[in-house]
């Protein structure tokens, strides 16, 4: 059953010199309990902004449109007012580089206990007990609760951040590049942990990353973002083996194979400017299979398989026949 439904999410940033940046341009996806959904794309495609928007963690220069429906309620309807009550209790987040997610002069245990006290769930001794449980859940000895963040290694800090995120038993966990700054061995452990938690706790996980192997390992479904939109979404398997958008195909081909087979393809051109609306498909300037309608007609999401959609004119038999 659907836990979170994002409908047509838009985010704009006002620029200092005037004008706006349209960073997220109508993103939609659904999450059910236990789902593991990956959001992939290059830097600057809007994926981090999109999940920050889900929790209302945007700066004052931002404006937001769209619906974020949690348990039937649009939590974004009245902006900060409506979304702030859901923070951490329904939606929690772990950030890129947990190095700085913790306040360096406070103990880890205190910081994990903080949301417990804040949301009236536990205090004092009971809170300490729960903190201990949470740490054990992520594979850290409970006795380490009294340490300071700089006494933890990078991987342990990220685990502690996960423990902290789970403190109020949220329904949705948003993970923004959780493994980017970690070495490969630790990466694997963290990802395994996340998969396990999603399964055991019924947690819905959104994993934002630019690292495709991470998505392959962790998520059963993924959305590929380009220039503020999800240009293709579907089962991870399908994206790998049957990509229906040139960007998806090129993105996966650009990842060097572990065995060194296959040529490494790089995507020509530069990412598009977000302060202008493109006349047609935003990927057209860099696409290797661009054809006539691409430059002038904006592609709409088309079903291309089971739970698999792509925004590309190549999937439209009518347009292909015409050209």
């Amino acid at each position: 059953m659907t836990v979170l439904s994002v409908e047509n999410l838009h985010v704009w940033f006002a620029l200092a010199e005037g004008g706006e940046l349209h960073a997220v341009r109508g993103v939609s996806f659904d999450l059910s309990s236990g789902d593991r959904f990956g959001l992939v794309g290059e830097s600057g495609c809007g994926k981090t902004t999109a999940i920050l928007a889900l929790m209302g963690l945007l700066p004052p220069t931002a404006s937001v449109a769209g619906r974020v429906v949690l348990d039937g309620e649009d939590i974004l309807a009245r902006g900060e007012e409506s979304v702030s009550g859901h923070r951490w209790r329904d939606l929690a987040m772990i950030f890129q580089g947990a190095m700085n997610a913790f306040n360096p002069v406070k103990r880890i245990g205190d910081q994990i206990a903080e949301p417990l006290a804040l949301h009236g769930l536990a205090e004092g001794g009971e809170a300490r007990r729960q903190v201990g449980e949470l740490l054990e859940l992520v594979g850290i000895s409970a006795s380490r609760a009294d340490r300071f963040p700089h006494e933890f290694s990078g991987g342990m800090r990220q685990r502690a951040a996960i423990a902290m995120a789970l403190a109020c038993k949220p329904k949705v966990l948003l993970a923004d590049e959780p493994t980017t700054a970690l070495d490969v061995m630790v990466q694997a452990q963290i990802l395994e942990l996340l998969v396990g938690l999603a399964h055991d706790l019924g947690l819905a996980l959104v994993l934002v990353t630019h690292d495709l192997p991470v998505v392959a390992q962790t998520c059963e479904r993924a959305g590929v973002m380009y220039s503020g939109r999800i240009v293709e979404a579907g089962p991870t398997e399908a994206l790998y083996h049957d990509p229906r958008h040139p960007y998806t195909r090129l993105l996966f081909a650009a990842t060097p194979d572990l065995y060194g087979e296959g040529a490494v393809v790089s995507i020509a051109g530069t990412p598009p400017r977000l302060d202008r609306e493109p006349p047609g498909c935003s990927f057209a300037p860099r696409c290797d299979r661009v054809f006539e309608p691409c430059a002038s007609v904006v592609p709409r999401p088309l079903a291309v398989g089971a739970e698999h959609e792509a925004e590309c004119h190549l999937n439209d038999p009518a347009l292909r026949a015409a050209s």
Binding site: N100, A101, F102, P104, H119
Partner: protein, 323 residues
Amino acid sequence: MGARGTNYVVKRTLFGLMTVLVAVTLNFVLFRAAPGDPASALRCRACTPEFKEEQRKEFGLDKSMVEQYGIYMKELLQGNLGSSFTTRRPVWDELGPALANTLPMIALGTAFSIVFGILSGVVAAWRRGTWADWGNVSVSLFFYSLPTQWLGLMLVIVFAGTLPVSGISDPFLEFTDPSTWEVFVDRMKHMILPALTLGLVLYGDYALVTRSSLLNTLGEDYILTARAKGLGSWTIVRRHALRNALLPISTLIAISLGYLVGGSILVEAVFSYPGIGLEVYDAIFERDYPVLQGAFLILTLSVVLANYAADLLYLKLDPRIAE
């Protein structure tokens, strides 16, 4: 405390000791290297021949400079700072009580600047970009730009009649057989204006440091995490940002002492406040070089000591240095 912490303490202690040595030597060299050697009792025109003879014997004034330096150091270690040309009493007997008057006044001045500064800085950072920010910064910069003695005179003009503007106590008070409380209040009333002068000139530093430090802290990831956890803005500032933002204040206090000793000379001159600053003022006027030399040494050593204490305090406040 780990190895780095011990290392830090040792380094700072060595530096402190070396600075003391440099200051003492500089003190000797300055006063004896002046043209005409005016600091030597032998050149003192207002002194009696008996006094000159005493000094010659005590400090070896007819020996070579190197020998005199040795005697100077030896006497110094025994607490002998020489004798005043004007009163012929030991310098320490003059300066000790004076110092005891100055210290609480300076402490009060520092308290004023910290309170004004933190209030101003927090408001400015909290309301960044608004009139409150601009106004606070401008006002504190303005006070910072005033010559200390001039501000003191302005306060005399404004408060003459409301608060005492000279001395340390009401000369007629003792005739009314006052209680300890009344004596205390009287002393405080005499301290307020000189302390307020120092506080007003200095608070700009604290305000600007608080403001920029708070702004910096507010950009840290753990602030975003705190916001994601659902903490209210003011709670975040109070619990997470302020403590980290105020770390630089402790070092600022020590650095400010360097200004305060200079400032105290000026305010005590304006308010005829019988502290060590007024002793310097009178000593310059009367060419009482031993007193001047002694005061300079005391002031310099106080600053070195305060800086050393601040270094150690910072170690305690920021656990990262200790590891």
